[in-house]
């Protein structure tokens, strides 16, 4: 039942590999009548004609809604960036005990979290589950559950008690969305929200072809490893904690990447079509990101967004790319340089 899962430091949106095998299971997952009812998503326009289904716009509006809901709460909150997150796939309560045991040892600057992906409708526990939940609560482990079938009282109770979130996936895409919701770091727990200096090592990547015994798998490996700067032990992947001296090993891009969680780009405002026609903004007929025209094939103004800071216009694709992958606004950055 409890396939334990990997531990991540600074776990950004990197849960995908674990998620994959779940999705594999979900191939047969709810192929129900509704999936085939494509006719229900048809819409009529004012004259009674069928309107083409605009997936692009639909997707974009969904994305914007999500962005807004994420950022509305995010103003100036200290966030727990260093997360020790266990992903448990289909839990027994035993798993919760295990996780509690593992997470108890980690230092207080790290955030202890469990994300449980759960499709069963019942649990069977070795001890009293209520005690386990209280234990997790005491050791400040934030437990979140994503259910796949229906709402269960015990999961809800667990999440409520430990400050996690509980959600139930409707279908595959919703499930993905729910998992991604866990990617941005949660607000820091008040008691631990003190400034802390953390010792970290930035190991060098070992030369190609060098042979050494890695400390995590206990076997000889050729090339592609990292050497701990303090004890020279070899680790296979970053980020991790050195098995020998316990130093936190990260690479600088990891740290840099988590930066955007602290200072996210403000969401872009939507541009009304009248605004686009305004002769004063004649220059911005093109997207600042990709330089594509913002006009429709019929030479009418299409949908566009504007950065509230630098006032440059962007197309929808660039909007998504900037907020989800790039995490830098090209307009603002170029402004700074000049």
């Amino acid at each position: 039942m409890n396939n334990g899962a990997g531990r991540r430091i600074n776990g950004g949106a990197e849960e995908d590999d674990d998620e994959d095998d779940v999705n594999g299971d979900l191939d047969a997952w709810e192929r129900t009548y509704t999936d085939e009812r494509s006719w229900e998503s048809l819409q009529e326009d004012e004259s009674g004609m069928l309107r083409p289904i605009d997936n692009q716009a639909l997707y974009h509006s969904q994305y914007r809604r999500r962005l807004r809901s994420l950022l509305s709460t995010a103003a100036r909150i200290q966030k727990g960036l260093i997360r020790y997150l266990y992903i448990v796939i289909d839990l027994s309560r035993n798993a919760l005990d295990l996780v509690d045991g593992y997470l108890n040892q980690i230092p207080s600057y790290g955030h202890r979290e469990v994300l449980i992906l759960y499709s069963a409708l019942s649990t069977c526990d070795p001890g009293d589950i209520m005690d386990t939940i209280q234990k997790c609560r005491k050791s400040k482990i934030r437990c979140s559950v994503i259910g796949l079938a229906a709402e269960m009282f015990i999961c809800k109770h667990l999440c409520q008690e430990t400050g996690g979130t509980y959600s139930v996936a409707l279908d595959e895409s919703h499930f993905k969305e729910l998992i991604l919701e866990h990617a941005p770091p949660p607000p820091a727990i008040a008691e631990f929200a003190v400034a802390n200096l953390i010792k970290m090592g930035f190991p060098q990547r070992a030369a190609e072809g060098s042979i050494s015994i890695c400390s995590c798998h206990k076997e000889a490996k050729v090339g592609a490893g990292y050497t701990c700067p303090r004890c020279k032990a070899r680790a296979c992947e970053l980020p991790t904690e050195c098995c020998v001296c316990g130093l936190t090993l990260v690479s600088s891009p990891h740290l840099a990447r988590s930066y955007h969680h602290l200072f996210p780009i403000a969401p872009f405002d939507e541009v009304t079509s009248s605004h686009l026609n305004n002769p004063n903004c004649k220059l911005q007929r093109n997207c600042f990101g990709c330089q594509q025209s913002l006009l429709d094939p019929g030479n009418k103004p299409g949908p566009a967004v504007v950065c509230p800071k630098c006032k440059w216009y962007f197309c929808l694709d660039c909007d998504i790319y900037i907020h989800e992958s790039l995490h830098n606004c090209p307009g603002c950055d170029s402004l700074r340089h000049s």
Binding site: S122, A150, V168
Partner: protein
């Protein structure tokens, strides 16, 4: 919040109100204005109680010159406490806004078992022994004795209460039973007698149905209530049965044996009194010559039960000469008991009208009708004279006299049925003689006549037009409200076919068909694998439940069910069932999941809530018709047809469907809750059955869900559960408001005013 309904300012203790609560209040207000009776159906979980309380108290506040009193009848002590707790919130709110002039006195009245604070008395195990224990310490002759002899035990709480005399009053406020006990303990006054005394001054009295409907109790407790009172029967869907039970008596062999023992004890007592103090018996004789009207002057502690017949039917004349002397009365009772035991010896089922029974009684045992009528009062008087305090020992002879008085008083609406054995177990002789009342309107008539407004309300009163006929009254308002919901949180389904597409039903000719039993098993099995936490499964009867579970056990279905969820079963034993329920809840809490097998019309179906995760799905297996071969039911049906022109089929369907609605209604107790209901019988898809369900269920029963097979139901269940697990907005979207704030309500009020004026 505070708002206006016509000329009444309503004080409502919460910031938001449901639209249906508002409508409910408007209808109530009209009823009160019209000084008539009404019948209102509104689903549970919509805040019926608070709507009722806040309107009626606000109505009283707006009309300070009329001495209106609210009598609120509940079925259980638990409901009584809940009502009082709600009233308390309301009262605090009203005081905050209106100041001390809004003060009222509200008390709950229950039996001594629930109110006594004397540790030696309340330790007794049942109600009757607590009553008797109290009487042993507080009866007038015991207290008279105690004043001479200090060794005789008395109840200090009662003594203190008596000493305080007129100073013993409750300050205004709302008192739950617990607070009443605490108050009594603190002051050293008996809370029970204090409550009984305060009932006549209280603005709101909350007590059980029996205190108004059962003439034996009502005669003592409720006789001083003024006409302007408003009487509320909450959860009143079974009110006709309560009325009938109040006037029905059954006599078994044990009753007769016990009565014989009682009689010999009484005769010993009489002999003892004759030897020591014959003057007491003579004094009683003289009193009886003058008539029984002396009852009213009895001290409060000696007054325990009054006549079982309704107040209008009690003769106000002297006791007939042949039972005035104690010995003679005893002879009459002996002959009566002998005659009854002779009748019980019969081999066949016998049915007789009271008139016929009285005739044969008079020819065989020489007891005439008038003598019978006086039995109860005569016995009461005799027991007082003989200074008997352990009244719980004398229940048997009381039952016999109860029977005699009723049979002597009523010629119509009753029948006497003697059954030598239970029809379901013909090999075990268990003779029983039943005097069963068929006419629910008899017991409730005095209530309708006496009080200005009687409100009958419940979550399930459908079909609402049948109740006025059954209870024989004319409501000024009868309405059924639906629930306004932010999301479709109830999902009723009618399942007509099993997984193999064959029809399922508990019809008599189909119920034991192995295919049907297997299909029901498969249904449950499929459901336990998709529904989280608790499932409740109702069967039509204990015997059917036993049979079907046995078959499931043999075919291994039960084992498979247990892989997913634990199984708990309701039994006729209360303790066992309570334990099962406790463990069921624990299993639901801990995430193990559980199924509860229960029986429609059982204790669980009537009183236990399976809200939230304790009941995500309720399956009603079959249509819970009454046992149609029961002689009592047949007699009642015949009477209903002859007197009220209600067809047998109509009544049976009505009765079955209200039970079914009651069962499935267990899962929804609030709007935030959600649950599914499966009616698993092909007969539910028929219009005549279905249409009798309450409108709040019907409005959610989509046409697509009327004729499902197991696999389709399974699919719907999956979708529904996922949809319900999503977060939602509690106040509802702007076009469909389900929570109204004060401003919105005022706007609504203006709007409806406009509509009315046009």
């Amino acid at each position: 919040m505070k708002f206006q309904i016509e000329d009444v300012t309503v004080y409502f203790p919460y910031d938001h109100i449901y639209p249906e609560q508002y409508c409910y209040m408007i209808e109530l207000k009209r009823t009160l204005d019209a000084k008539g009776h009404c019948l209102l159906e509104m689903p549970t979980g919509t805040g019926k109680t608070i709507a009722l309380l806040s309107l009626i108290t606000s109505y009283c506040l707006s009309k300070p010159q009329s001495p209106m009193k609210l009598i609120y009848c509940t079925r259980t002590v638990h409901e009584m406490e809940k009502t009082l707790a709600e009233l308390k919130i309301l009262h605090n709110y009203q005081i905050k806004h209106l100041g001390p002039q809004a003060r009222i006195l509200a008390i709950g009245l229950s039996s001594r078992k629930n109110l006594c604070v004397n540790p030696t008395v309340v330790a007794a195990e049942n109600r009757d022994s607590v009553d008797a224990g109290c009487r042993k310490l507080t009866a007038s002759w015991v207290r008279a004795l105690a004043s001479e002899n200090p060794d005789v035990a008395m109840c200090e709480f009662f003594e203190n209460y008596e000493k305080a005399a007129s100073a013993a009053v409750l300050p205004p406020g709302v008192y739950t039973l617990q607070e009443l006990r605490a108050f009594g303990k603190e002051k050293g006054w008996c809370p029970y007698f204090l409550a009984r005394h305060m009932v006549q001054f209280a603005n709101v009295v909350v007590y059980s149905y029996q205190y108004l409907l059962d003439p034996k109790v009502a005669g003592i407790i409720s006789k001083e209530m003024q006409k302007e009172s408003v009487v509320v029967f909450d959860e009143a869907h079974n009110i006709d049965n309560v009325c009938i039970e109040a006037l029905s008596v059954s006599v078994r062999r044990q009753t007769l044996e016990g009565a014989t023992r009682n009689l010999s004890r009484i005769s010993q007592e009489i002999d003892r009194f004759k030897a020591t103090d014959a003057s007491i018996l003579r004094a009683e004789y003289n009193r009886l010559v003058e008539g029984l009207a002396l009852r009213g002057n009895l001290p409060i502690t000696d007054n325990w039960l009054s006549n079982p017949a309704l107040p209008d039917d009690i003769l106000k004349e002297a006791v007939p000469g042949n039972i005035r002397r104690a010995e003679h009365f005893l002879h009459v009772l002996r002959r009566l008991v002998q005659y009854l035991s002779g009748r019980l010896d019969t081999e066949n089922v016998e049915k007789e009208s009271p008139v016929g029974f009285v005739a044969s009684l008079s020819s065989h045992a020489g007891i005439d009708q008038k003598t019978l009528k006086f039995c109860y009062d005569r016995l009461h008087s005799l027991m007082l004279t003989l200074e008997i305090t352990d009244t719980d020992e004398f229940l048997h002879i009381q039952t016999i006299c109860d029977f005699a008085t009723l049979v002597g008083t009523y010629g119509r609406g009753f029948s006497i049925i003697i059954e030598p054995f239970d029809e379901r177990m013909p090999h075990i002789p268990d003779p029983v003689l039943q005097l069963s009342c068929h006419d629910a309107s008899l017991a409730i008539k005095p209530v309708f006549d006496r009080f200005q407004s009687v409100l009958i309300t419940s979550g399930t009163l459908s079909p609402i037009d049948l109740y006025p006929r059954l209870l024989n009254f004319h409501p000024v308002v009868s309405r059924s409200f639906t629930m306004s919901l932010t999301r479709d949180c109830i999902c009723p389904m009618v399942l007509t076919r099993g997984s193999d597409q064959l029809p399922v039903s508990t019809k008599f000719d189909m119920r034991s068909d192995p295919g049907v039993v297997r299909n029901y098993g498969k249904l449950l099995l499929e459901m336990v694998s998709v529904v989280p936490d608790g499932i409740v499964c109702f069967f039509v009867s204990y015997s059917y439940m036993d049979g079907i579970i046995n078959t499931w056990n043999d075919s291994g279905i039960l084992k498979e069910i247990m892989l997913h969820k634990l199984v708990f079963i309701e039994t006729q034993d209360v303790v066992e069932t309570t334990l099962a329920l406790d463990n069921y809840r624990r299993a639901c809490d801990s995430g193990r999941g559980a199924v509860f097998f229960s029986v429609a019309r059982g204790k669980v179906a009537e009183g236990i809530d399976f809200d939230r995760h304790y009941g995500r799905l309720v399956i009603m297996i079959g249509v819970p018709f009454q046992y149609t071969l029961s002689k009592i039911l047949l007699a009642r049906l015949e009477y209903l047809r002859d007197t009220f022109q209600i067809k047998e089929g109509d009544f049976l369907t009505f009765d079955a469907l209200r039970q079914a609605a009651q069962c499935v209604g267990r899962v929804i107790r609030s709007k935030a809750d959600y649950g599914m209901m499966i009616f698993a019988d092909k007969r539910y898809s028929r219009h005549d059955k279905r249409s009798k369900l309450p409108s709040w269920i019907l409005s959610h029963l989509q046409d697509a869900n009327l004729n499902l097979s197991t696999d389709m139901a399974l699919h719907i269940a999956r979708e529904f559960l996922k949809k319900m697990a999503q977060p939602y907005d509690k106040t509802g979207s702007s076009d469909k408001k389900t929570l109204l704030s004060q401003e919105e309500l005022e706007k609504l009020g203006d709007g409806s005013m406009h509509e009315m004026s046009y």
